[in-house]
Symmetry: C2
Subunit: 191 residues, 2 copies
DNA sequence: CCTTTTTATTAACCACTGTTCAATTAAATC
DNA sequence: GATTTAATTGAACAGTGGTTAATAAAAAGG
């Protein structure tokens, strides 16, 4: 009494990750069971174990993907024809836009904490941060001390961490984001 | 086949809250069972239900206490003999000190999210924020627009949210906190 | 001392968990 | 068309969860 679907409906790792993503954010790691994910996909829970060896495995695969995504966003800045000052603004505002637009991604990347998962090595987040920090340094002509860059990151993080947990779209909070970024820029640029 | 202890060891609501606090932060709401809390106290899990009607009840009682604590800290500032500028600095640094010193409190107040608990009405956090915002307005002679005050709060929140999840003491990160507060002050004061 | 009240224990209930695995079937290969 | 391989199922295992109810001991009141 088992079965296998038509090829068009075959389960993929990406399908699982996408559904798991939404659920993990809405309900937290511990409140989402493999059965729940499977049900949401319309498959049996056993099927997921064919694609991932464990729940933690699924989670880390998901998060790694998210960090790859943020890295891409940062790299996009190089294509823009702007002054350093403008690029810096884009970077900060872009960070907020990313976090508020992909709330699910941001939440799992920075906000969810779980003992079961903290064995997950911190390589991806650290690499992403370094990329971000290097860009800030570049756009400020390497005038900024390292701790100040870290401080700037934390200011952004505070904003995103808050709005991540609301239903507001980026458009909705754009004006608030502008104020926030202006304040940050004001704090690091000498008039 | 039941038993009862000597009076010196009688269980109190406060004892339960204190132990639950540590556990909730270390392991998250869903990973801490009533049995675990009881075991950590050296009592049976049934005993907790004598003092709290449910797990969620215990949690909200705990959080309400935490907000009362932060309100007290804010009120303390009135006793200080300082200029507004100095008081502002104290307020911002004090916020960080509170968050980093009472990591458990901060975590449950602002960072833990759980469907089971979000029915909890937001009265306490909102009242605390308004107290905080009013003080900022006061210390800046009501020159700051409301959204800027909110922005300042988010900058602080970003810092605390991060260090909340490390083992660093406030003393340890004091210099980083100073940098952060200086940046914030720089952003809201016209030179 | 006896009764009442307060507190604590324990078993029991039922729903749910991650994970494994034999059984099964559809698709792919020959 | 037969065989192999890849994908899926669902039962089973061995827990854990919150909560309740029956029960018993300590403390308080008389």
């Amino acid at each position: 009494m088992a079965a296998r679907r038509a090829v068009e409906k075959e389960l993929t790792q990406q399908m699982i990750i996408d559904v798991a993503h939404e659920l993990f954010v809405e309900e937290g790691y511990q409140n989402v069971s493999m059965r729940k994910i499977a049900k949401s996909l319309g498959y049996s829970h056993g099927a997921i174990y064919y694609h991932f060896t464990s729940k933690a495995d699924l989670f880390t695969a998901m998060v790694d993907q998210d960090f790859a995504m943020i890295n891409k966003e940062i790299d996009k800045l190089d294509q823009l024809e702007l002054s350093n000052k403008e690029k810096l603004r884009e970077l900060l505002l872009g960070y907020i836009q990313f976090g508020v637009t992909y709330k699910n991604h941001y939440e799992v990347m920075f906000l969810i904490r779980d003992k079961e998962i903290n064995s997950y090595d911190m390589e991806s987040p650290i690499k992403s941060y370094q990329k971000f920090a290097a860009k800030i340094a570049e756009f400020t002509n390497n005038q900024l001390p390292v701790p100040v860059i870290w401080s700037v990151f934390l200011m952004l993080h505070g904003f995103v961490a808050q709005y991540c947990r609301t239903d507001q779209s980026f458009e909705n909070i754009k004006s608030m984001a502008d104020i926030h970024v202006d304040l940050i820029l004001r704090s690091i640029t000498k008039d």
